[in-house]
């Protein structure tokens, strides 16, 4: 596995397949949510097989619950089968949890950062990498709450996981911005502490905004264009770190394909040293 190309990609949506195939593709890679491809056959696999034939592929899990009490062996086996089938260039998951007991909660839930949860997450990342026979990437979360018991900064927590397990990191710049605004912190301070040398992929996406008495609460809703401050932070990361595989996510209130493609091309402009403004709408 050589990893994703240092180019742009988008989260693939079935509704976009025909439009993507109407012209030669300009995407460096596509990313899919693993759980949407865990049926046996039919249209999802036909489309993914078609895209895989001439694109790099990232499989992004949203349901493994790496921050949960224990990993689901059956789900790990499904992920293994999916990776065996498509041989993706990258597999990634989240620093979050989403299952409790037999119940699947279908959201990326937060956890306190303590020595005990660090041990737990490292153990799970080890287990995933062993089961899949590959290095995985772990993504920083968008959070709305903190925990009184947290004793380790998130950036340090992620650095320790990468050090102890050998996993790479997926830096979601929108999540950095969302969490920083929500916790009334400086996103640049977060990024200055982030182990950028371990980053193997970047995510960009749109957020929504609510109002709290103390100020805005940003929601990682993936239903809007990437916000301007996120573009700025992204350009700063690229200036520091050089080109990195960059994904634009748009999961809800899906736009027409040209709108999403334009977002990705704006990211490419930044990747290649431009301002990204040429593509701004």
């Amino acid at each position: 596995m050589t990893g994703l190309p240092p180019d742009v990609g988008v989260g693939f949506k079935p509704d976009h397949h025909a439009a993507i195939r109407r012209a030669p593709s300009q995407m460096g890679f596509f990313e899919v949510h693993a759980e949407n491809y865990m049926g046996a056959g039919g249209l999802p696999h036909a489309q993914l097989t078609d895209l895989r034939a001439d694109h790099a592929l990232s499989i992004h899990g949203v349901g493994l619950s790496i921050g949960g009490p224990r990993l689901d062996a059956a789900h790990l086996a499904r992920l293994r089968a999916l990776c065996d089938r498509y041989q993706p260039d990258s597999f990634s998951e989240h620093l979050a949890w989403s299952s409790h007991g037999a119940e699947y909660l279908n959201d990326l839930l937060p956890l306190p950062y303590t020595p005990r949860t660090l041990d737990l997450v490292c153990q799970h990342v080890d287990q995933v990498q062993e089961a899949l026979g590959r290095r995985m990437l772990l993504e920083n979360p968008a959070t709305y709450l903190l925990f009184a018991d947290s004793s380790i900064p998130e950036t340090e927590f992620l650095r320790q996981i990468a050090l102890r397990t050998g996993c790479g990191l997926l830096l979601d710049v929108n999540n950095v911005f969302v969490a920083s605004v929500n916790h009334r912190r400086d996103p640049r301070a977060y990024l200055a502490d982030f182990p950028l040398d371990q980053v193997a992929e970047i995510h960009l996406g749109g957020h929504a905004e609510e109002a709290l008495p103390s100020g805005p609460l940003l929601i990682d809703a993936h239903g809007a264009p990437v916000a301007d401050p996120v573009w700025t932070l992204y350009a700063e990361v690229i200036a520091q770190r050089g080109p990195l595989p960059t994904l634009v996510e748009w999961d809800n209130d899906l736009p027409e394909w040209p709108v999403l493609q334009a977002e990705a091309l704006r990211a490419r402009d930044i990747l290649r040293g431009g301002s990204g403004l040429a593509r701004a709408s």
């Binding site: 039919g42 009490p69 959201d107 956890l111």
Partner: protein
Amino acid sequence: MPAPAEFHAGFAAGLRGGELPPGLAACPAEAAEIARRFAVYRNNVAVSLVAALARRFPVIRRLVGEAFFDQMARIFIAQHPPHSPVLLEWGAAMPEFLSGFPPLARHPYLADVARIEVARGAAFHAADAPPLAPAALAGADPAGLRLGLHPALRILPLDFAAVDVWARNQPGAAPRPIDIARPQIALILRDRRLDVPVRAISAADRLMLDRLRAGRTLLASAEAAAATDPAHDAAALLLQLARDGALVAPADGVLS
């Protein structure tokens, strides 16, 4: 700091509507604001699961109305939460749930419509199988020919005219009267465009398909259907299945 297992249990209980879990913080750490922030997670879980059901049961949602459906979905979720991150497999309990949902007691046909939607979901994701090439059928002796049915194909005997209801609630369908009390048999398959149409078939069609699936020869299957309905058109059924790519090699791989 509680042990991780206690932390997860407390947080999950809060998501289900229980008390706020202990140990939450925010900046500024005002109690009211912490509750608002926790509510984002509670809302994300509920809204995303309701949306998953809405995608799975579009006709039910259209029939009962969006607001009613979304409220009902929350009750369904509390009673039948998903037990796997693979949500495409979730929702099979919906027909039974609708049958026992008192506000819908006067609309018993809804359970049959939900059965169709569950079967369509299963058919959409069913395993692939290569359709038989026309050459495999040309000149074959029906007395010795055995055919397999595609793994996506499903036959649903229904108490009501739910196939007609489903069809009338597709985008662009023209309104027409439906005799709801008339039982129908639904044939659900995945066509060559990987779309999942729903059609009503006759009892004789169903019998012929059951016999084919059981490994009987084409001739024996068609004769069984003709015995129940002398006017049964076996060729028309076979042609339609062949067009849709729903005829495959039999389970043992031997055609005749």
